[in-house]
């Protein structure tokens, strides 16, 4: 199934603004995260929140075809 992943803030320097990922039908959020760590190793050491379809998600959940995931880093600047 096709998942769209958006990256925000300085994470775009690692992964670009957005990538499309094709994951197995039983895919989960954490599984997708692992896959992206393999693709973009620098991502693993960064701090970020994850959202699925515009909702911040802390736990692991199953993904569905067409879901949009966002990687949101904290900003400190003022």
């Amino acid at each position: 199934m096709a998942i769209q992943v958006l990256f925000f803030g300085q994470l775009t320097e690692i992964a670009g603004n957005a990538v499309g990922v094709d994951v197995a039908a039983t895919g989960t959020l954490r599984g997708l995260e692992q896959e992206l760590w393999t693709q973009f190793p620098l991502l693993k050491d960064r701090k970020y929140a994850l959202s699925v379809n515009q909702k911040i998600i802390k736990e692991d959940i199953s993904l569905a075809d067409g879901d949009v995931i966002a990687f949101l880093p904290p900003f400190s600047g003022g």
Binding site: Q10, D45, A49, Q54, K55, P73, S76, G77, G78
Partner: protein, 374 residues
């Protein structure tokens, strides 16, 4: 101000549908604390002051530097080296003389924050570092104060209103830790110290923050609570992400002022060390009579500096010669800014009442800015 002046000053918002005199009176009665008078704080302060928020507190312990002026619109070139809280208050009192402005020319800490924050209805977090952001969050949650969160990096910004109201079906209001539970470590965010920012971005996010304050006070519109708004200047794209309470982070919060007192907020990623002054401030402060400049390099190190009075106390001798430093401000410098930061830490350990500063990047950095000006 007489009634006619009052009406004239606020006329353009008084005539708004759903606003009127009741909303204006709520603004006049409101007490808002703005933490940080920098890129975000400047527009927040200007618009709240203009809108007629009756009492405004300003917390900032920093001084105006040349590199601030591209985005911190309350300050002018002639203000370099002056305390931001002072300059901002002076500027704002001219903008609207009827506003009561309280200055806190100090850094918000776990010691002073509860006392300061308790005095206000709502808080605006326009700070520039994670320790202050987590501190503001935790104290606001402890004291039940809503706060407007805004933060920027490079070309993007974030906005939300935290600790506002308990949404239907939830057990408590959401706050910053529901998004980012713990402070990032230094290596978990990119370029922690010098991420860079485009000048208009804090103006956009700061103005949105001021808009939230006006809505929170007056009740017009819908407050941006329970969702994180992100803004990208390059594409003008806005996203919103729903936030729900994460009860697991509740244990991370201090429950009482005593518990807060023991919290260590400064271990995370800090930006813009307050003990460092930039070269423009260093030069501006030469005129000050209350400031002593101390070269902490060893005797004979080049280049020798001329054009301002200073003394030489090598870092190794500083502890024994601290009695020689009687002035209100002590500015330390060396070649690269490393030894002078060590000297700042040493003097702060010996006496935490001293006002000690280090020239950022040292003489090397200062000389570059001099030659680029010639």
């Amino acid at each position: 101000m007489n009634q006619q002046e009052f009406y004239n000053r606020y006329q353009r918002q008084l005539i708004l549908k759903d606003f009127g005199m009741p909303a204006q009176q709520k603004l006049q009665a409101a007490r808002v604390l703005v933490v940080g008078a920098g890129g975000l704080g400047c527009p927040v302060l200007q618009y709240l002051c203009g809108a007629g928020v009756g009492t405004i507190g300003i917390v900032d312990d920093d001084v105006v530097g040349l590199s601030n002026l591209h985005r911190q619109v309350l300050y002018e070139t002639g203000d370099i080296g002056k305390p931001k809280a002072n300059v901002a208050a002076e500027h704002l009192s001219k903008l609207n003389p009827d506003i009561r402005i309280t200055q806190y020319g100090e850094r918000l800490t776990n010691k002073n924050a509860p006392g300061i924050i308790a005095d206000y209805d709502m808080i605006v977090d326009g700070s520039d570092n994670f320790p202050t952001r987590y501190l503001v969050n935790d104290v606001c949650v402890m004291l039940g104060k809503p706060f407007v969160y805004g933060a920027i990096a490079q070309y993007q910004g974030q906005l939300s209103v935290f600790n506002w109201r308990v949404a239907e079906g939830q057990t408590r209001a959401v706050h910053y830790r529901d998004v980012f539970a713990q402070q990032p470590a230094n290596d978990e965010v990119f370029n922690c110290n010098e991420a860079g920012v485009i000048g208009v971005l804090p103006a956009i996010i700061g103005t949105m923050m001021a808009a939230e304050v006006v809505k929170m006070i007056t009740g017009v519109g819908t407050v941006c609570a329970g969702e994180l708004l992100t803004y990208d200047m390059l594409s003008q794209q806005v996203h919103k992400f729903v936030i729900v309470p994460d009860t697991e982070v509740d244990q991370l919060l201090p429950d009482t002022a005593n518990e807060l007192y023991d919290f260590e907020y400064d271990e995370g990623c800090t930006t813009g060390n307050v003990f460092e002054i930039e070269p423009s401030v260093f030069t501006a402060w030469w005129q000050r009579k209350d400031t002593v400049f101390v070269d902490v390099r060893n005797a004979g190190e080049q280049p020798l500096l001329k054009g301002f009075s200073h003394i030489n106390i090598p870092l190794a001798e500083l502890e024994d010669r601290v009695e020689e430093l009687k002035q209100h401000n002590i500015v330390l410098f060396c070649a690269s800014g490393k030894r002078s930061m060590k000297a700042v830490q040493l003097l702060n350990r010996l006496d935490d009442q001293l006002n000690v500063y280090s020239l950022k990047g040292g003489i090397n950095n200062w000389q570059q800015t001099q030659s680029s000006l010639l």
